[in-house]
């Protein structure tokens, strides 16, 4: 994509540098910007924009957006645009988005004596209890009692997307009150979600699940050995980027995608969306050129290229109507976008995420009481949020 931009925009040369680190780890950016050698453009996980803006790492784009295109905000999905804002100012342009579904391996479900057709989205979402029954039939252990294959680990976050946010939204939880600037991890829906994860872990054996994960999804794993791709896991919650891995590594995998299971019959299926954004770090000496580049990347042309090439979805609304961009299963993800959830854009978004993850770890692995774990997350994050206000 960068090559295309460079070819079509003479006079400006963009160099693409990949940096390591998880979504909330921006050590390299921080030190580079502080040292005066920061990049002119950076790709940042969108839900951390408010946090980085609060820390002063990002250039305020409000004026330049206003000057170039006053209607820009209306061209993007509302939640995506909301994530680029901090205190009413624009600090980023939204790039791609995604949504989460339940992937299921048809062969493994058939082998366990169930009809995979019941998973077909046409028949509506399955309940958590139904999935539990199927999952238990698929679990297999070896002579030592360790799992060699599993049906579903709803709370796994190493190879799938069983995050606190996923199940919190499924159980109707609210994670923050943006008007009062409060995080609300002890919201009844969130607590219910954590209780669900705790019970599931107790059912499977917390340490045995952990050992399964260490075995089949060790740290820094090669992508082609993903446990769903090699048929070690029959169901998982994950996003549309997996479509690409399957196509690339295991094109013959007999799988399908459907709604994330619902707590009880009649509930509306839920999902959530994240995605990336482009920002200009403070201290950039080429703000105008950088803005030109990021508005191209996040505009119709750039996002179209990215959608086709990556099996991610655009946040640029006009592109969502163009069905030719989405093949096969990808259409289902796109359809979910209309009613998707997103994480609250808080200036402590990264910290909150980590605190929730820690609570989830305690609840599943150590079987801590959900209320207690979530209260601790509140105690960690709220004082920081008060400071950032």
């Amino acid at each position: 994509m960068v090559d295309t931009y460079n070819k079509t925009h003479p006079g400006v040369v963009v160099e693409f540098v990949q940096v390591p680190g998880s979504e909330t780890d921006v050590a390299k950016l921080m030190t580079a910007v502080r040292g005066g050698t920061g990049p002119d453009v950076y790709q940042l996980d969108r839900f951390t924009v408010a946090q980085r803006a609060a820390a002063g790492v990002l250039e305020d784009l409000t004026a330049i957006v206003q000057k170039k295109d006053a209607n820009l905000s209306s061209k993007y999905l509302p939640f995506a645009w909301a994530e680029t804002q901090y205190k009413g100012h624009t600090y980023a342009l939204p790039f791609d988005t995604d949504s989460r579904v339940l992937y299921y391996n048809k062969d493994m479900i058939k082998a366990a004596g169930f009809d995979p057709e019941m998973f077909n989205p046409k028949n509506g979402p399955l309940t958590i209890d139904q999935i539990k029954q199927i999952s238990q039939k698929i679990d297999k252990t070896d002579a030592n009692g360790n799992y060699t294959q599993v049906g579903f680990i709803p709370y796994d976050t190493t190879f799938s997307q069983g995050w606190h946010y996923t199940w919190g939204f499924v159980f109707g939880g609210k994670f923050a009150d943006l008007n009062a600037m409060k995080v609300t991890p002890t919201d009844p829906g969130v607590v219910k979600a954590f209780q669900f994860m705790k019970d599931w872990a107790a059912m499977m054996g917390p340490q045995k699940v952990q050992t399964f994960i260490s075995t089949y999804s060790p740290p820094n794993p090669p992508p082609e050995q993903h446990p769903f791709l090699i048929g070690k896991v029959a169901m998982m919650v994950s996003g549309d980027w997996v479509l690409n891995s399957i196509k690339q590594y295991t094109p013959n995998l007999n799988y399908g995608v459907t709604y994330i299971p619902i707590p009880e019959k009649g509930a509306t299926p839920q999902t959530w969306s994240g995605g990336w954004s482009f920002v200009i770090p403070t201290g950039s000496k080429h703000v105008a050129a950088a803005y030109d580049f990021i508005s191209w990347m996040t505009g119709p042309e750039g996002q179209k290229m990215y959608t086709v090439g990556s099996s991610h979805m655009p946040t640029y609304k006009a592109l969502l109507d163009d069905d030719s961009l989405y093949e096969g299963n990808h259409k289902f993800f796109k359809q979910l976008l209309a009613n998707s959830n997103s994480r609250p854009p808080l200036p402590v978004g990264g910290l909150y995420w980590d605190a929730l993850t820690q609570a989830q770890n305690g609840v599943t692995l150590k079987q801590v009481d959900p209320m207690q774990a979530l209260q601790q997350a509140y105690d960690t994050v709220q004082p920081q949020l008060d400071q950032a206000k």
Partner: protein, 318 residues
């Protein structure tokens, strides 16, 4: 005994008694080492003092630090992750240092065997410690896989149950202790030098007196290498307390989904937490406070070790 010589140098020649040429020598000497002095002030003294000042502020790394007095330190003692990371680090260090000393001595003894191929053995035993620790860590992930890893294949061979060396909070710190032993070749060389420096007459006369190999080791070798043991303990302490890389890689610090440091933060070591505070949560002030508490506690531990060492380190033979 370098320090004693240096003080002697300043006492006898320093001050008014300096001759013209020695004063010139001193000046030239200072000019020659001035790059180092400048670097030391700019890159060591200044950042250290700056971090002390930062520890009394709230600072994201950008904008102006806001002075908040002792708030960071008060918050620190209420912070469960502070206690967790301190516990993890002490647990690791108290395990890794003694194990490290024993392994290094055993390696040194092995390297000291009087066989023809000893140089080959020395090379084999030393080679793993040449590898950078981050490379070893990646290898270790494969080694310690619960189902396919060599570690568990050996373990099962001698009748141990399957151990999850990465994902089980009870075992994964021990796993890093084992990993650290791959670097034992360095200290082992120093022990080897120490053992070879022991006069062979001592062993010969002990042997004539009928001392067996264990008596010779515990009565001669061990007492005479106690200064090296102390050195190794201090070095091990400082490396152990600052452990970071292994945990960062074994918890997939570079890949997504790794937002806690191992299951239940079981590999959240102190320096790892400092790193997270500073660069992920952009709390430079809080991170500086963490570092200063760490510095004071480490100094305390080092002093305690030196004091304790007086009871058992043998300085008679040098």
């Amino acid at each position: 005994m370098e320090i004693r010589d240096l003080t002697a140098f300043f006492y006898t020649r320093g001050g008014n008694g300096m001759t013209h040429s020695s004063r010139r020598n001193l000046r030239n000497g200072l000019i020659f080492v001035s790059p180092w002095i400048f670097g030391f002030i700019a890159f060591q003294i200044y950042p250290i003092l700056y971090s002390l000042w930062l520890s009394f502020t709230r600072y994201s790394g950008f904008g102006k630090p806001i002075i908040i007095g002792f708030q960071n330190f008060q918050q620190l003692f209420k912070d469960p992750l502070f206690w967790k990371s301190a516990y993890n680090t002490l647990y690791y260090t108290l395990l890794a240092v003694p194990v490290g000393v024993v392994v290094a001595i055993v390696l040194a003894l092995a390297m000291n065997q009087k066989v023809k191929e000893v140089s080959i053995y020395r090379a084999i035993l030393y080679v793993p410690s040449i590898l950078p620790i981050f490379a070893l860590s990646f290898v270790w992930v494969v080694f310690s896989n619960p189902r396919f890893g060599l570690l568990n294949l050996i373990g099962q061979g001698i009748g141990l149950p399957v151990i999850d060396w990465i994902g089980d909070p009870k075992w994964n710190k021990l796993s890093i202790v084992l990993l650290a032993q791959l670097g034992a070749g360095g200290p082992a060389l120093i022990f080897l030098a120490g053992i070879r420096a022991i006069p062979s007459e001592l062993f010969d006369s002990a042997q004539i007196d009928g001392a067996n190999v264990f008596q010779r080791f515990f009565k001669i070798t061990l007492p005479l290498i106690t200064p090296i043991i102390l050195y190794d303990i201090i070095l091990g302490l400082s490396m152990g307390l600052q452990i970071f890389t292994q945990a960062y890689i074994l918890t997939g610090g570079g890949s997504s989904g790794a937002n806690t440091a191992g299951p239940d933060n079981s590999l959240l070591f102190y320096v790892f937490y400092v790193y997270k505070s500073a660069f992920q949560y952009t709390q430079m002030g809080y991170a500086s406070a963490l570092v200063w508490v760490f510095f004071i506690v480490s100094m305390g531990i080092a002093l305690a070790v030196f004091r304790w060492a007086k009871a058992w380190v043998n300085y008679d033979v040098e």
